[in-house]
């Protein structure tokens, strides 16, 4: 079966409220990998437990999943409001390192009083301000990932130099109320820049998404209507063009809650996905199962084969990195100059 020209992209949430054992997450990610999905997501917040249920750091969970999987992308939610921008960049870069280039992150903000009290550093702020800061964090993270050129580690025994200092760069970034000098503690991650995702359903994150997102989720309710998704997408396209960004380089996913009870439901979901995709509403889907075990199994064994049979979905991973799954290029390094590139040639 030839690979489709414009591939349909699929992702799935593996949120499992209250679950603390790693194996449950590994099983879910492996199942999604068997379905050849582009990536799994795991939500997170620095807020209090919901309904008294324990939660684990999402990035740590997906780092634990990484060696137990081979191809599937791993995209935890990482919040930018209370965590150090430098640490956000460092942790996401490391997830990319331990997964050999399969990492992304869904940027999110912490708007509640409860989260602010957990840190005791700042008062809660309006969503618009928090998303302006999130955009700055995404910006500095990308700069930190670029702060080591790909071939900065030279190990030149003759001169005793481990690194070429001309290929390490300060980022000298000024954010709202903070600054980051750089360079990063870690070398450039395998994907150059791990994939940045933003849920841009609401208005406050839209500008951050238009500037920095590689993947944009647009959430729908249980009875999805394409109109609202299309409107949000058009708004984001316009914002991107105004910023000089090519909207074609961003993957738009409709984020759908799913509850599949039988094979017929799985086929109906394939019908919906196929028609939205054919109408050009979105590039793919982010499914949010209501029951992680039941829904994911039906998704992989029911919906996916139907989409593959219709030639909309690939049946293997042609690439190894999440960027490759998403058909996104590996970004050039903004600090690599003709001078340094020429010197090594």
């Amino acid at each position: 079966m030839p690979a489709p020209i414009r591939p349909l992209h699929l992702a799935v949430s593996i949120d499992r409220p209250g679950v603390r054992d790693a194996e449950s997450y590994v099983r879910a990610a492996r199942l999604a990998e068997r379905g050849r999905l582009d990536f799994v997501t795991l939500g997170d917040t620095l807020g209090p437990p919901r309904r008294g249920e324990s939660r684990l750091d999402a990035l740590a969970v997906l780092a634990r999943v990484a060696p137990a999987t081979r191809r599937i992308g791993l995209v935890p939610t990482v919040t930018t409001t209370h965590t150090e921008p430098f640490h956000v960049a460092d942790a996401v870069s490391t997830l990319d390192q331990v997964s050999n280039g399969r990492a992304g992150w869904t940027a999110e903000v912490s708007a509640t009083e409860a989260e602010a009290r957990h840190f005791g550093r700042r008062a809660p702020a309006p969503a618009d301000a928090l998303w302006r800061e999130a955009a700055a964090v995404a910006d500095v993270a990308a700069r930190l990932w670029d702060s080591w050129e790909d071939d900065a580690e030279i190990r030149d025994a003759a001169t005793g130099r481990f690194i070429d200092r001309d290929k390490l760069h300060r980022v000298d970034f000024e954010g709202p109320g903070w600054s980051v000098r750089g360079p990063s503690a870690a070398p450039r991650p395998p994907q150059g820049r791990p994939v940045t995702a933003v849920d841009a359903t609401r208005l406050p994150p839209r500008e951050a998404a238009a500037r920095h997102a590689d993947v944009i989720y647009l959430r729908t309710g249980p009875t999805p209507a394409p109109g609202a998704v299309r409107a949000a997408r058009d708004d984001l396209h316009a914002r991107m063009r105004a910023l000089g960004r090519d909207p074609g380089r961003v993957v738009f996913l409709a984020s759908l809650p799913v509850a599949l009870y039988a094979a017929a439901d799985a086929v109906a979901l394939a019908d919906l996905a196929g028609s939205w995709w054919a109408d050009g509403v979105v590039d793919g889907f982010h499914f949010r199962p209501r029951d992680p075990d039941r829904d994911l199994a039906l998704l992989v064994d029911g919906t996916v084969p139907v989409l593959q049979h219709r030639g909309l979905l690939r049946s293997f991973y042609p690439g190894g990195t999440l960027r490759e799954h998403l058909c996104l290029p590996r970004p050039a390094n903004r600090y690599a100059t003709a001078a340094t590139a020429g010197r090594t040639a």
Partner: protein, 433 residues
């Protein structure tokens, strides 16, 4: 293994604890060797952790990467810099190891208790109770602070105050869930942290992750006695080790703790050979690799406070006097000159002579005997080994020294428990509510 098992039924002699530290960016690391592999690929971390687990080690210790040093206003290019973030690497290692403890050396200066306690508690769950935190108190706040919201300028007069309060706050968070799995609100209002709310990670398999404190100073010993499960100290003579060991253990009673509740582990290096003589030759060769001509010049520039780039590292020490503005420069230079003159050494040979000799050098049987002696003589409860090579630098120790330690009855022949606390013989923390 069989011999060790038979000995288990004899009266228990004191057994040592062993850990391995992923070598840092600085002088101990050898990277210009054909056997030196990547220092950032996951495969390298996996190899070293797997070797340590094969050797039944207590834990694998990984530090945060430093901000690359600067020298003469530019990024220093001789250090083996570049380090992924440790808690994330350890979370991944939890997938490919089963028993070994996973310890992250993370500073208190630029983290917040809620966030770090949460990540460590997550690691404890994801590893089935193998998480540890080596509490690092940064000494170079202004330099590191340039990357963080707070910036530099932490109170230098009392660098342990923030660290102590940080650890106490983390403990309150870890203790905030009942052992039965019910979250309880927490509130901590101190000088450095004022936080309250509800922690969202249930109490982990170890109750709390193991806390490791590094350092030999009086303040560091006191901090360890009050709050740590392991103190990581430097290595010196047997007598110095005994004195420190007795001092540290003696401080515990004031905190209502028993001597066995704090393990004293020495950070050490080692060099093996088929014979003691061969090991000495290997050690000398490794020192030459560690102190490249450029590193020797760099070390001299740090002491002299002058640009010595035109100087021949294989020639004599500089004849010019050091910049007296550099602290201790005159005294250090005088000591170097005395060594160089007495032994007829070049600049590079002098640096090799005066810096960082390996702790234990010898044939496997000799090294096993030396390690055992430190433990039986009451100078340490164990050791954190720092190999000079990544990723294979522990292979020979695991294959040749560990079996000899087991034969002596000085080291475990199997993991008796599942958690790091169990490996270390530490009691499960009592939940105080």
């Amino acid at each position: 293994m069989t011999a060790g098992r038979a000995r288990q039924r004899q009266p228990q002699r004191k057994r040592m604890h062993l850990a391995v530290r992923f070598p840092g960016a600085g002088s101990a690391t050898v990277w210009a060797d054909p056997r030196a592999g990547s220092r950032t690929d996951f495969a390298s971390f996996r190899h070293l952790a797997a070797t340590a687990e094969r050797g039944l080690f207590d834990f694998f210790l990984l530090s945060e990467g430093p901000r690359p040093r600067e020298h003469k206003g530019r990024i220093h290019d001789l250090d083996a810099v570049g380090r992924p973030e440790p808690v994330t690497v350890l979370s991944a290692l939890a997938a490919v190891t089963e028993r070994i403890g996973l310890a992250a050396a993370v500073g208190t200066a630029f983290h917040e208790p809620y966030e770090l306690a949460r990540r460590l508690a997550s690691l404890d769950h994801l590893s089935g109770g193998r998480a540890a935190w080596n509490v690092v108190t940064s000494s170079d706040d202004a330099f590191l602070g340039a990357n963080f919201r707070r910036g530099g300028g932490l109170d230098r007069a009392d660098p342990y105050a923030r660290a102590g309060e940080f650890v106490a706050t983390a403990r309150e968070l870890w203790d905030s869930w009942t052992p039965g799995g019910v979250p309880r609100p927490f509130a901590h209002h101190g000088r450095h942290f004022s936080v309250s709310g509800t922690f969202d990670v249930a109490r982990g398999p170890q109750g709390r992750p193991v806390v490791i404190q590094a350092g030999d100073s009086g303040e560091e010993r006191e901090f360890a006695a009050s709050a740590a499960d392991v103190i990581l100290t430097g290595h010196g003579s047997l007598e110095a080790g005994q004195a420190l060991y007795a001092d540290v253990k003696g401080r515990l009673a004031a905190y209502g703790r028993r001597p066995e509740e704090l393990k004293v582990m020495q950070g050490v290096t080692f060099v093996l050979g088929d014979t003691d003589a061969e090991a000495q030759e290997n050690a000398a060769e490794i020192r030459k690799q560690q102190v490249s001509p450029q590193k020797a010049l760099f070390a001299a520039e740090r002491v002299w406070g002058r640009d010595l780039s035109g100087h021949d590292p294989d020639g004599p020490l500089p004849t010019v006097d050091p910049d007296p503005a550099v602290a201790d420069s005159l005294a250090v230079a005088a000591r170097w000159r005395a060594v160089a003159e007495a032994k007829g050494l070049s600049l590079r040979q002098t640096v090799i002579e005066v810096t960082g000799r390996q702790s234990f050098i010898g044939a496997p049987a000799s090294v096993a005997a030396q390690l055992d002696e430190y433990v039986t003589a009451g100078a340490a409860d164990g050791f954190v080994l720092v190999p000079h090579l990544v990723p294979g630098g522990l292979d020979e120790f695991a294959d040749r020294v560990v079996p000899l330690l087991q034969e002596r009855g000085a080291f475990r022949t199997e993991y008796a428990g599942a958690t790091l606390r169990e490996h270390l013989g530490l009691p499960l923390p009592v939940w105080k509510g």
